[in-house]
C-alpha cells in the first residue's frame, strides 16, 4: 500500500522471524505427535495457552520469576499432556476410525481447557512482563525492538537444534524414529510402544507448554489464544509435512513472515494466503513439502 514496496523493512523481518519462532515452538510438538502416534491433537493450541498462563501466573502471581514460570509451564503442560494421552487417546488406538475419534476427543479438550482457563483467570487478557535481564530495547537501523523478541528467535533455534540432536543422537530418539516408521516391527523387537507413545506425547506437550511460556511476554494472554494459534499450527504442519521437524520450521517462518509483512503489503489478502497455501499443498503434495521424521 502506501508504505515501502521496494523492500521488506528490518522491523517486518525481525517481527516475522519472532512470530515464526513462536509458531515453530507450537507446530513442532504437534508435528512430532502426529508423526509418531498418528494423532492430530486439536488441543495442542490449548496446551500452548496453558503454558502461557502458567508463565504468567509464576511471573506475576506466585513468585516473581519468569524463568521458573517457563520451566513450570513446560513441565506442567507435559504432565497434562500425559494425562490426556493415557486417559483418553490410548483407549482409541485400535479403533477402525481411530484418527477421527482422536481428533474429536481432542476437540472436546479444546472446549474443556478453554472454559477451565476462563474460570480460573477470567476472559480479560493479561500481559506478562519480560524478564528483567531482557527488559530493554534494541535499535536496529531505526526500528526499535524489545531484546526479548530477539531472544525468542534464538530460543527457537536452540530448541530446534536440541530436538534434532535428541531425535538423531539418543537411544530414545532411535526408538522414536523406528516406531514412527514401523510400529509392528518396533513392538516385535521389544519396544514398549504404549510407553513410548506416552513419552512422545509428553515431549510434544512439553514443547507446546515451553512455546506458550516463552511467547507470553510477546503477546497478550487470553482464553482466545489457544484457538488462534491452533489453526496457524495446522497450516504450518500441513505445509511443512505432518511429522517433519524441519518442515515445521520452514512452515512456521513462512506463516510468521506472512503475518508480519502482510499488513504493509497485501493488506487485502494476507489472511487468505496461508489457507490457500494449505489447500495447494494438500492437493499437490499431501505429505507436505518436506519428508517425514524418519528421513
Amino acid at each position: 500500500m502506501i508504505s515501502t514496496l521496494s523492500f521488506v523493512s528490518v522491523s517486518d523481518l525481525v517481527i516475522g522471524l519472532s512470530l515464526g519462532s513462536r509458531l515453530f515452538l507450537i507446530a513442532v510438538g504437534l508435528s512430532l505427535i502426529f508423526g509418531v502416534l498418528g494423532v492430530l491433537n486439536f488441543a495442542h493450541g490449548a496446551l500452548y495457552m496453558i503454558g502461557a498462563y502458567l508463565a504468567l501466573a509464576f511471573t506475576t502471581q506466585v513468585i516473581d520469576n519468569f524463568w521458573i514460570g517457563v520451566v513450570a509451564g513446560a513441565i506442567g503442560v507435559g504432565v497434562i499432556g500425559v494425562l490426556i494421552e493415557v486417559g483418553t487417546i490410548r483407549p482409541l488406538y485400535d479403533r477402525v476410525e481411530a484418527d477421527l475419534d482422536q481428533l474429536i476427543v481432542t476437540f472436546g479438550f479444546v472446549l474443556v481447557i478453554h472454559e477451565v482457563v476462563r474460570f480460573v483467570w477470567g476472559s480479560q487478557p493479561y500481559s506478562t512482563p519480560a524478564p528483567d535481564a531482557l527488559a530493554f530495547s534494541v535499535s536496529v537501523s531505526g526500528s526499535t525492538f524489545s531484546a526479548y523478541r530477539l531472544f525468542v528467535i534464538v530460543a527457537a533455534l536452540v530448541v530446534m537444534a536440541a530436538l534434532w540432536l535428541f531425535i538423531r543422537r539418543t537411544y530414545f530418539g532411535a526408538l522414536v524414529r523406528g516406531t514412527s516408521s514401523d510400529r509392528e516391527m518396533a513392538s516385535m523387537l521389544g519396544v514398549d510402544v504404549p510407553r513410548l507413545y506416552t513419552g512422545v506425547f509428553f515431549l510434544g506437550s512439553f514443547l507446546a507448554g515451553l512455546g506458550g511460556a516463552l511467547s507470553a511476554p510477546l503477546q497478550s494472554t487470553s482464553p482466545a489464544l489457544g484457538e488462534q494459534v491452533i489453526i496457524d499450527a495446522f497450516i504450518i504442519v500441513v505445509i511443512g509435512g505432518l511429522g517433519s521437524m524441519f518442515g515445521a520450521f520452514v512452515g512456521a517462518m513462512f506463516v510468521g513472515l506472512m503475518q508480519a509483512i502482510g499488513p504493509s503489503f497485501i493488506a487485502a489478502g494476507h489472511i487468505a494466503i496461508p489457507f490457500l497455501a494449505m489447500v495447494l499443498v494438500l492437493l499437490v503434495r499431501p505429505e507436505g513439502l518436506f519428508g517425514g521424521l524418519g528421513e
Binding site: M1, S9, D12, I15, Q124, S127, T144, S220, Q228, G262
Partner: protein
C-alpha cells in the same frame, strides 16, 4: 423459576399485552394462557433489560455499566422506588456478537417481559438490534455503542437503522470525531494515520475523522491505515507498518482489552517516541478500569462524560458517591448506564409503563444528569451532549488518570452537516 415469571406475565398482561396482540396476532393468545395460569401473582417490580458485553475482550465495559446501573437502582429503590415499585435490572451478555445480542434481547422481551431496554457496547450489535426493537415496539436507550447510523433515520443512508424506538444518551462517533477534527486543527500535523478494530466502528471512525478534518479545513494528509482483527493478541506487525509510514499523529478507536494489549506493545516498539500525538477516541472508558497499561501522560483522549465537567452539584455528587462506593472514578459507560436507569424512572413516573408513553416522554422532556442538561434531538433521538477531548494526566488525589485542558466540543447539528457537505461526504451526522 416458579414464582417470578408469573408476576412478570401478569405485568405483561397489564401493560404489554395489547401491543403484542396487535403485533403478533395469535401469539397474544399464548400470552393470555400464561397469564391465566398465573393469576394471583403479585406485581411489585419494574424490570429493565440491560444488554452489555460481560465476557471476552470488552467485558470491562459490562462491568463498568453494571456499577453504574446498580448504583442508580440502589438510589432509586432506597428512595421508594418508582411509584412504590422496586426497579429490577435483568442483565444479559451480548458477547459483542449480533447473534447472541438478538437472542438475549428476544429473551429479555419475551421471557422476562421487561419494560424497557438499555445498554449496548458494540456498534455491530446495536445495528442489528435496532430494527428488532422497532418490531417489538420496545424502547431502547443506547448508552455506549457509538455508530452514527444507529441514530441516523432509516433511509438516510444505506446503513442507517435509526427509528423512533431507539435513543442514545451518550454522544456518537460522529460528534466525537468532530471534536477530534477540532483538536487536529490546533495540532497542525502534516500526516495522520489510524489503527482501529476491523469492523464498522474502526472504519467509521477513520471515515468521519477524515471527512470532518476536510470539512473544517484542517490542512493535513491521511497516509496509513491498519485494521487488525478484534481480540488480536499481537499488534506488532500492525504497529510496525504504522511506524514505517512515519505519520505525525495517529487516531485510534481501539477499545477494551484490545487497547490494553496495544498500549503495552506500542510502548515496547518505541511508538510514543516516534509518533508526536496519539488520539485515543475510546481511551478513557478503557483507561480508568485497566490495571495494566493506562494511557501515557501527555497523549490526547476523548470521553463521552468527564467526572469533573460540568462542575455542577449533580455531577460532583454523583462522582463522589461513585468513588465512595467503588473506589474509582466513574467512566462514561458507568455514567451512561446510571443515567439510563434514571431516564426510565422519570419517564415511568410521569407516564406509566406503556411503551409508547415512555418513548414520547423521552422525546418530549428536557433531561438532566451528571453529564449536564440535554434533550433528545427530534428525528434522530440522539442526546445533545458534548464531546470532550483533553490531555491525559495523572491525578494524585484520585490515584487515576484524568483529562486536563479540556476542549468541550458542542457543535450544532447544522455545523456538523455543513462540514460533511463541504468535505463532499455522504455520511450522515446522526445528530
Amino acid at each position: 423459576m416458579a414464582g417470578k415469571p408469573c408476576t412478570d406475565d401478569v405485568q405483561n398482561g397489564r401493560n404489554g399485552l395489547d401491543r403484542r396482540t396487535f403485533l403478533k396476532g395469535a401469539a397474544g393468545g399464548a400470552a393470555v394462557t400464561t397469564v391465566a395460569g398465573c393469576l394471583g401473582g403479585g406485581d411489585d417490580t419494574i424490570s429493565l433489560g440491560a444488554l452489555y458485553i460481560f465476557s471476552g475482550f470488552g467485558s470491562l465495559y459490562g462491568e463498568e455499566a453494571e456499577r453504574g446501573y446498580e448504583l442508580a437502582v440502589e438510589e432509586i429503590n432506597n428512595d421508594g422506588g418508582i411509584d412504590g415499585q422496586d426497579v429490577e435490572i435483568i442483565s444479559r451478555d451480548t458477547e459483542g456478537d449480533p447473534n447472541a445480542g438478538i437472542r438475549q434481547m428476544t429473551s429479555l422481551i419475551e421471557e422476562e417481559n421487561v419494560d424497557g431496554l438499555f445498554g449496548l457496547d458494540s456498534s455491530s450489535v446495536a445495528q442489528s438490534i435496532a430494527p428488532q426493537v422497532q418490531e417489538y415496539q420496545m424502547p431502547l436507550m443506547a448508552t455506549h455503542a457509538a455508530t452514527p447510523f444507529l441514530t441516523s433515520p432509516e433511509g438516510e443512508h444505506d446503513n442507517s437503522v435509526g427509528n423512533e424506538w431507539v435513543f442514545r444518551n451518550s454522544n456518537s462517533l460522529s460528534h466525537d470525531m468532530y471534536g477530534a477534527a477540532q483538536v487536529a486543527a490546533t495540532l497542525e500535523l502534516d500526516e495522520w494515520a489510524t489503527i482501529g478494530p476491523d469492523y464498522a466502528f474502526g472504519y467509521e471512525t477513520w471515515d468521519y475523522f477524515q471527512a470532518y478534518c476536510e470539512g473544517i479545513g484542517v490542512d493535513t494528509a491521511f497516509t496509513e491505515e491498519q485494521f487488525p482483527a478484534l481480540e488480536e493478541s499481537d499488534y506488532s506487525p500492525y504497529i510496525s507498518s504504522i511506524l514505517d509510514a512515519e505519520p505525525d499523529g495517529v487516531i485510534t478507536p481501539l477499545w477494551g482489552s484490545d487497547l490494553t494489549t496495544f498500549l503495552g506493545q506500542a510502548e515496547q516498539s518505541g511508538w510514543f517516541d516516534e509518533i508526536e500525538y496519539t488520539l485515543f477516541s475510546v481511551g478513557m472508558g478503557t483507561d480508568l478500569p485497566a490495571d495494566g497499561s493506562p494511557l501515557p501522560e501527555g497523549e490526547l483522549a476523548s470521553t463521552r462524560y468527564d467526572p469533573f465537567e460540568p462542575d455542577t452539584e449533580e455531577n460532583n455528587e454523583f462522582r463522589e458517591t461513585y468513588v465512595e462506593e467503588y473506589d474509582t472514578l466513574p467512566t462514561y459507560n458507568a455514567e451512561g448506564a446510571y443515567r439510563a436507569v434514571y431516564l426510565y424512572r422519570n419517564a415511568i413516573e410521569e407516564a406509566g409503563t406503556n411503551a409508547d408513553e415512555i418513548r414520547s416522554t423521552f422525546e418530549e422532556s428536557e433531561h438532566t444528569g451528571p453529564v449536564g442538561e440535554y434533550a433528545f434531538a427530534p428525528e434522530t433521538n440522539q442526546a445533545t451532549v458534548p464531546a470532550i477531548w483533553g490531555e491525559v494526566s495523572y491525578d494524585d488525589e484520585y490515584e487515576s488518570n484524568v483529562l486536563d485542558s479540556l476542549e468541550v466540543s458542542d457543535p450544532s447539528p447544522e455545523e456538523m452537516q455543513q462540514a460533511l457537505e463541504d468535505a463532499g461526504s455522504d455520511l450522515p451526522t446522526g445528530v
